[in-house]
Symmetry: D2
Subunit: 311 residues, 4 copies
């Protein structure tokens, strides 16, 4: 709609879309309102809409995602977690282990430790109270979304669940931010379409996270695909962060890849830190020591200043 | 345990395992009972078990799957669906569209047709009543397992949900057969570990299904990995079937790949058939016409006879 | 050209093509002659050709290969090696180690045994004299083509050299058959385009060989892509054989995959055999023993009879 | 050897290695000389070497590369091209099209423009004379190495030829720098082993170039694997540069990925520039305009200063 379109004009367009048997979702922006037309199975004749008063243009979107695309929302989305802002022009964030913990853990086999579950959530809440830090934790099934939402500041969807569509829909019904990890062999289009599931259901607070894709290379655990950062920044308005620890599986690669990600336009990084990486029950080889993390943060702060973000 | 081990000897071993703080799961076979020892985080000293009366041998399994492995269950598992038997030395089955239908459909984007859901299940039940054919249909979330179980003869887990562990666990609590599709980039080890989730929870009726893996090749939709058939037959006692329609995405490749799969040792194939493939709402290019299906079946029947199965 | 087109009509078309600044290559078939038009950088206006006497139809080919495509040569090519015929409706061949040996060996690192080179060729010739069997051996560089041609019955291009275009062109200038292995991550289109390099230079005796593609899977050395067999049979007239030993890297998978390949339409298989696989200097785990090979051959002979080929 | 080891001590060790039937290659460094022991097929008993006078330590290398590894040459190699230095602590270089041109071009199919060959080299020489800029150009076959060496300042090996071992060996016999591009699906180990072929033959002037690997992703042409930069910097002393134009295939991704590469530790970048990208005969969509290149260079210069290199 034109930026001067009136409330009544917007309602008229919405009504016209519904008359066509389709859904209309108004998406208010800072300057103007877009109206998402959903539910069509093919090309729609826009004759009855495009000349209505207040309509600026009709954009036909053939991608499997619409609401998360830049076309619909040219300005980048900023997501609030406690008093931190993530996305668009905001200072990039660093999510270290202090903030993160797995109460429910996705494990390849059923005979491995599956997380402390409810007790884990209780401990995370306690940690939050003591540290004052917000909590990111994974949710694996729709029926636990409400429970996890009570304790977490950000709900994480793991790579294996990127296309667990019922989980995504359930997360679309809450208001807390969701951190959506890219599937191991998901294309960018599938990744954004997964985000669209959450967004279309009503929750616009989606943070995307690249965590490496599966390739033939065996020297690193996965292949960190940094080119998705500028690509997502072109295609979508959602913030994108990087997990170099899981992606590379090697501690020494975490600092250079973290810095590279920020320069490429990432809105944050998420790294594993452990007081004694060699004694960690899992993921030791990829975890930074407290000291190593401190050194990396010095460099990152300097880089962030150079890139033009305050303090 | 020795094949002559008494019930009491088995119970003594189970008790000894539990004393060690571990779980013991008896797995009765046709000739002897195996006892799965689960819950350990590393190598276990078997000193207190291996010399107990009735113990034949202690096998240390380092894989993320145990109960679905051949080591535990040397004889192939046969799964009953209505009056059909799948697996081991049984005549390979052919699952065509008459038997299969999607009430819940996993779609890349949220704005595409998501299936008829409950109404779809009702229609499938009706189709079953009229045709007398058993039904295979997909379930996507733990909370729908009970509902789908009421209508379906086989519950399918799609490739995107292969590591939806809560769904797998829920399917482990029912008694109906589960058709588990391999994830798009799942290794064989991860595939069998996913089956182990269902099996370990109590449901041994798991059918594995290879449906192509994701590679760089663009001439076929996915790359059908037939070498997993003999590999799974070595590593696991579960039956394995092939879906050449989804794997290749090309109708003309379905008959040769179906026959190749059977020769390689597959326990069945699952193919798309459509009365008018060119008018199909989805998956037309990969669907056989009724006529094409008939021609393929003639060849397959002849091949199955050659391979030594009765009509 | 029409099957009744005269020599003069053919020459007139060739001349007309050349007048357009393009190359014309007559490709005689069993029933009619095709004329390949090469050298164009984009779409050509066929106005001056299509109505010439004797012209049946003008087919525009946009693929990077033309002469090896079915469009140009609907009947399958049969290639003669000594008194053996490979391709089209001929009985599938089995290339075992008796026939094959590496004088020049492509090795990942320079410090590993690189083959006996000239001395190796001499030994192969000797082996041929004693056994009466034709020889397949690899050539790695254009300047050795003439030398290898003297000794070999079939010259092999390894996967690493599939796009060594100067080597391919040099092989296009000889008359002996070339066995072209698919590159580790070559698409089918690139594979056929590589064959086109040999064919277009003048040597039509090209045998294609699928040897597994590189994927994320680690349980097999490569992922044997059997769906390329029916796909190549659709797209090209060249024979295609399979190398299940290198593809899988596992002896036990060789017999089932060999049989599957033949059922899918392969014109032959190429397997590693070793008198004492456990003592082999290289590739032991994938080599069949003499006994194992014998058992497989019994099954293969029976399968070949079933498929309708004589003895 | 100890840094104080005498020439005689070094010779004694070399002789001792040869007595064992192995090759010994002295590798002089800035502080001390390493002696590469080559030609062994397995573990060597180092008893007769390790206690010789002047020997500091014996390192057993099991990788397929030795001479290009950091173990042998802890200090990074610096390569001179005209008056430019590449590698180690030197200011990163930018190779734009002004410097680069293809006289021999590797093309998927034989019917596409194959380069101007000799005439192309002549034109490149002319361009060099006029511009004063050094030339990088590709060589595809051993027999053209001498010819290309006459005209080029750096000889490039394309991704398709990374394992063309005869070409690599021939390039090992010249003294001009070689730019070795990573194969489309080459592991890091294979990449370094390919460099070892050149190095072991006598030419230590090898520059490695990452140009994207082949994966399932279709939004970018290849997947640029930036984590190889810190990984190569750990494993090898050779300089590594990045080609974001070919890797991504998208102009807009070139500036962010170039900057990310430099922050990750790349010794240079290589980008496509074209005066009129939309009219380029090939690779237009990935080429920067002169203006776009200028803007990127401003940012890169600023970044290079921040990273601590002089103008």
């Amino acid at each position: 709609m034109h930026h001067k379109a009136s409330r009544k004009q917007i309602d008229t367009v919405i009504a016209a879309v519904r008359t066509m048997g389709l859904k209309a979702k108004p998406i208010p922006g800072s300057q103007r309102t877009a109206i998402g037309v959903l539910g069509n199975k093919g090309y729609i004749d826009d004759l009855s809409i495009r000349d209505l008063p207040g309509v600026k243009e009709v954009i036909h979107v053939t991608k499997p995602y619409k609401m998360v695309s830049r076309d619909f929302h040219p300005k980048g989305t900023v997501i609030k977690v406690a008093n931190i802002e993530i996305g668009a022009g905001k200072r990039p964030i660093v999510i270290a282990d202090l903030l993160r913990g797995g109460a429910f853990k996705p494990r390849t086999g059923p005979h491995t430790f599956q997380g402390l579950e409810r007790e884990g959530l209780r401990l995370l809440s306690l940690a939050k109270k003591r540290s004052g830090l917000p909590i990111v934790t994974e949710v694996m099934t729709p029926e636990n979304v409400a429970l996890v939402e009570e304790h977490a500041d950000v709900l994480q969807v793991g790579a294996r669940n990127m296309q667990n569509f019922d989980l995504l829909k359930e997360l679309g019904r809450i208001r807390k931010p969701v951190l959506l990890k890219r599937g191991m062999s998901a294309t960018i289009e599938e990744f954004l379409a997964a985000a669209e599931y959450i967004y279309a259901e009503g929750n616009p607070h989606v943070i995307l996270c690249e965590r490496g894709i599966r390739t033939f290379e065996t020297a690193t655990r996965n292949s960190l695909d940094l080119s998705v950062i500028p690509l997502i920044n072109e295609l979508s308005h959602l913030p994108v962060i990087i997990d170099p620890s899981h992606a590379t599986g090697k501690r020494s690669l975490v600092p250079p890849m973290s810095k590279a990600a920020l320069v490429a336009g990432a809105h944050g990084i998420m790294v594993e830190v452990h007081p004694e990486p060699d004694k960690a029950l899992s993921d030791g080889p990829q975890s930074l020591s407290i000291e190593g993390f401190g050194e990396m943060m010095k460099e990152i702060k300097s880089l962030i200043s150079f890139l033009g973000f305050d303090r």
